[in-house]
Amino acid sequence: MTEFEPVLLKRISKKASPSLDAYRADGGYRALTKALNEMTPAYVVDSVKASGMRGRGGAGFPCGVKWTFLPKDHPGPIYLCINADESEPCTFNNRILMEEDPHQVLEGVVLACYAIGAKTAYFYLRYEYGRAYRALQKAIDEMYAAGLLGKNIMGKGLDCDIFLHRGAGAYICGEETGLIESLEGKRGWPRIKPPFPAIEGAFRKPTIVNNVETMACVTHIIDRGADWFKSIGVPPDPKNPRDAGSYGPKLYCISGHVNNPGCVELPLGVTVRELIDKHGGGVWKGRKAKGVIPGGISMGIMTEAEFDTPLDFNGPGKVGCLGLGTAAITVFDDQTSIVDVLYGIARFFAHESCGQCTPCREGTGWMMKILDRMRKGLGRVEDLKILDDVAKSIGIMPGTTICGLADGAGWPIKNAVQKFRSELEEYIRKGERSTAASLQMVGAH
């Protein structure tokens, strides 16, 4: 099999300069020039739709389809929000794109604005990303100076402004309506839907929220065509009528107990095992893996036996996980206590729950307290039933909460209670205790 040639990381892997000139020299803004000269906005939308590209932000919703949800012939304004909150633990693919090759992303932003008729894009960046902030601001300044932003872009009558907006550091502001509330200067409390943002979003206007990597993909779809995009990745699973396929290249983040943590670009559908062994340099210290947390920590837990699962939009569901999420795997070795893994996860969600829905607000806190007690050697076997029950009521049973944070909080618990039951029971029976060691792994925010 020939090595996959990176697309999104192409310039980054060559350590190319992030400057506008260098980007242009590498063919940058070719897609935008082509679109403005040869394509109608509707054609751009259709191309993205035809590519089958699913959003990279976690939910995997087909991007072009989302764009068509905007009201037709709306007098405007319509807004585009770029979700660069990237707060999912162990996820850093957006960061690399923004820091190292911002124009690739920003070209996609202008293309998307052209497609959906937005004249304003808000780039919502998590506060902690200082380096990305500086890189983006520099790139945006360059674009204004070069007439790639502002009024009458490339003389083609397109007006577009990008505002870089820094969040104040909350995971929930990555949820698209939490983001919109935060952007409006309010507390980042996700909104109830309907109305969906495409109908009523930022400042009560139609709004599209897309991830950073999604934007980078748009650039390449317009540059190379939908067919090219579709030639990469995995077609729909015939056994799953709801699978819309997993096309295109994807950035995978590898972290935890591996020798070479990092971010790699591969066609969608690579297996966990391949990621660990081939791209992550294998499990560290010569140990064996006990499991991975796929898709950031919100998607559940996979055991070593499930490592041949392909990481595409359809694969993780087959082993009881929630989905692909952010395609970031965190490996934990066989010396890691599953109780510690779960405690770290529960602590994160208890800290990040926005607190408006009762089940999520109280459930995340309770799960954390139970797991903390377990770590002190005071667990009870009946706690496992309670954990499972709480997980069920905060998201696994559909409809119980407003946003997906609760699902994310519930899923790892549900998976672990099922998949690591004997280990958990033994831990409880023996009255084992834990040290703080494995906390560091799961990003103790």
Partner: protein
């Protein structure tokens, strides 16, 4: 026309725009809810109202959704099927309640809300009897000063955000906010910005639990000792419908009573807290007459006929030498009786409208932080600080043809036109001082000055006869508000030792026999006064609009 199916029963909801909580109520089914309130925006965050829903297709088949939905956020449409007692619905409700109790102190024995608490009630009906949690509870600090009238038991809060939305959407003043995230979220004010808007205490009624408590009511009574009567606030011409909570002849609390025809769901703090004078010890307990220069207690059985014959005697000499001031705190029935009394003694007797207290301008909410009204009015505290000017005027217009203002009474007393003047008052303290010193000088020139009032004043000190007055808490009758809405008030406590309401006093003076019956009296006056004709019918809980 839309038909909704609630737990198997079909309910016709017509064209009304209802959510599933409301639609279920029509079917007599309770869907527990906390965060939803008809006057506030929908946030669907407490997740208490989760139910299973589906759709009944034209062919009769039912397709249920796999997910539970918040009933408060889900519109009732034709064919909507709701199951509030399915396994899933019950599970969701039970889990939400269990969650709410995790960090709740369960200090019901010392909580003011116990007995009327949403958490107690729903836990009893939909929750579980035991806790599964052995962890330590969170104990956020209580905030005894978040405002002059309201205190916060932070740990009892269930985070429904009703109070926050009230200050943002109804008062507009936005004092309340939520601090922190997740299970550490708590209600607070901004530093140095207490919850002191004029509608503040409504958050106590809105709070489903004992988190926000009224400082006025705190620890005064267990609510199960209280009895409730329907009443109307007397403190301004808005005429808010109220619940009057009392026990053993003491008024303990006023709460707003929902009335879309009157004020809506709320009431202002001024009106709410202005009831202490009902219970005041300083009130007149017996009628008084001046004997050897001193006001001395008299038996009414003797004094009543004495006053009557004195009025009759004076009127015989000069018909228009007797007069009466009809206070805008009288009920319509009382104003009618007093007018009839005077006119029956002398058709030319002069009738005046009592002083109409007006303070400032109408105070409209929501307001911005500078106090300017914003958007459509959701609540208005009116400048006219009395409950029944319009009702009294209607009586005067019919029985005298014109409304003579209080100033005319003062003038007529001052220039010696009047030999006898029967002044009714009964003003609430909130109405303020109702006559000036110069007016007092004129009024006291009347040889037979009869004052009927609640408490001693510089005017009653000058009277020849003093008759105790009764408050709205002690009588049955009707008040007509600024918008010509006639609402009934009902007695809850007895009018002191004297035991007679103003109306009873007038009836006695008219030599009408027996106890006054407000409803019968209304039929009588409705027949005589066309403007008040609607009062003949049933006033219901929300009152009737006069033309």
């Amino acid at each position: 026309m839309a038909t909704v199916h609630i737990n198997g029963a079909a309910v016709d909801i017509g064209d009304e725009k209802l959510n599933l909580v409301q639609a279920a109520k029509k079917a007599g089914v309770e869907i527990p809810s906390y965060c939803w309130h008809p006057a506030l925006s929908v946030v669907a965050s407490c997740r208490m109202c989760l139910v299973e829903v589906g759709e009944k297709k034209p062919d009769g088949t039912v397709a249920m959704q796999p997910r539970v939905v918040p009933a408060c956020q889900t519109p009732a449409k034709d064919g909507t099927v709701v199951n509030t007692i399915s396994e899933k619905s019950k599970y969701a409700q039970e889990r939400t309640l269990e969650s709410l109790l995790l960090n709740h102190p369960l200090d019901c024995p010392v909580c003011d809300k116990a007995g009327e608490c949403g958490l107690q009630d729903y836990t009893f009906r939909y929750g579980r009897a035991t806790t599964r949690m052995i962890e330590e509870k969170n104990t956020p600090p209580n905030k005894d000063y978040i405002g002059d009238n309201v205190t916060l038991f932070t740990d009892r809060c269930i985070m429904c955000s009703r109070c926050v939305r009230f200050t943002r959407e109804i008062s507009g003043t936005s004092e309340l906010q939520i601090l922190n995230r997740g299970h550490h979220a708590e209600i607070d004010i901004f530093p140095e910005e207490p919850l002191n808007n004029k509608l503040a205490t409504n958050v106590v009624d809105l709070c489903p639990v004992g988190a926000l408590c009224s400082k006025d009511f705190l620890y005064k009574q267990r609510v199960w000792f209280l009895k409730t009567q329907q009443s109307v606030c007397a403190d301004c011409s808005t005429g808010c419908s109220t619940h009057l909570d009392y026990n053993k002849d003491i008024v303990y609390r006023l709460r707003p009573r929902d009335n879309p025809q009157a004020q809506g769901h709320f009431m202002c703090d001024e009106g709410r807290l202005d009831y202490e004078y009902v219970n005041a010890k300083e009130r007149f307990q017996q009628p008084l007459a001046r004997v050897e220069g001193k006001l001395t207690p008299q038996a009414w059985e003797k004094l009543g006929p004495q006053i009557r014959s004195e009025l009759v005697g004076l009127a015989r000499k000069k018909g228009d030498a007797i007069g009466a001031v009809l206070s805008p705190f009288l009920t319509v029935e009382e104003a009618y009786l007093l007018a009839k009394l005077m006119k029956s003694i002398a058709p030319k007797a002069r009738l005046y409208l009592g002083y109409v207290p007006v303070r400032g301008k109408d105070d409209q909410y929501p307001q911005d932080r500078q106090g300017n009204p914003v958007g459509p009015a959701k609540f208005t505290i009116r400048a006219e600080k009395c409950p029944n000017r319009r009702g009294v005027e209607a009586v005067l217009r019919q029985l005298q043809g014109e409304v003579l203002p209080f100033e005319t009474a003062v003038r007529d007393a001052g220039n010696g036109t009047l030999q006898a003047l029967f002044v009714t008052a009964g003003y609430s303290p909130n109405a303020g001082q109702w006559y000036q010193t110069a007016q007092l000088e004129s009024l006291k020139k009347t040889p037979t000055l009869i004052v009927q009032d609640l408490m001693p004043s510089t005017l009653s000190a000058e009277a020849k006869y003093v008759i105790p007055a009764a408050t709205w808490a002690e009588k049955d009758g009707v008040f007509v508000n600024h918008a010509n809405l006639a609402q009934a008030i009902h007695w809850a406590v007895r009018p002191g030792w004297f035991g007679r309401t103003d109306g009873q006093v007038f009836a006695d003076l008219m030599e009408r026999r027996g106890l006054l019956n407000a409803e019968g009296l209304r039929k009588e006056l409705a027949a005589e006064i066309p403007a008040l004709a609607p009062l003949a019918g049933n006033l219901g809980e929300q009152g009737v609009k006069l033309r």
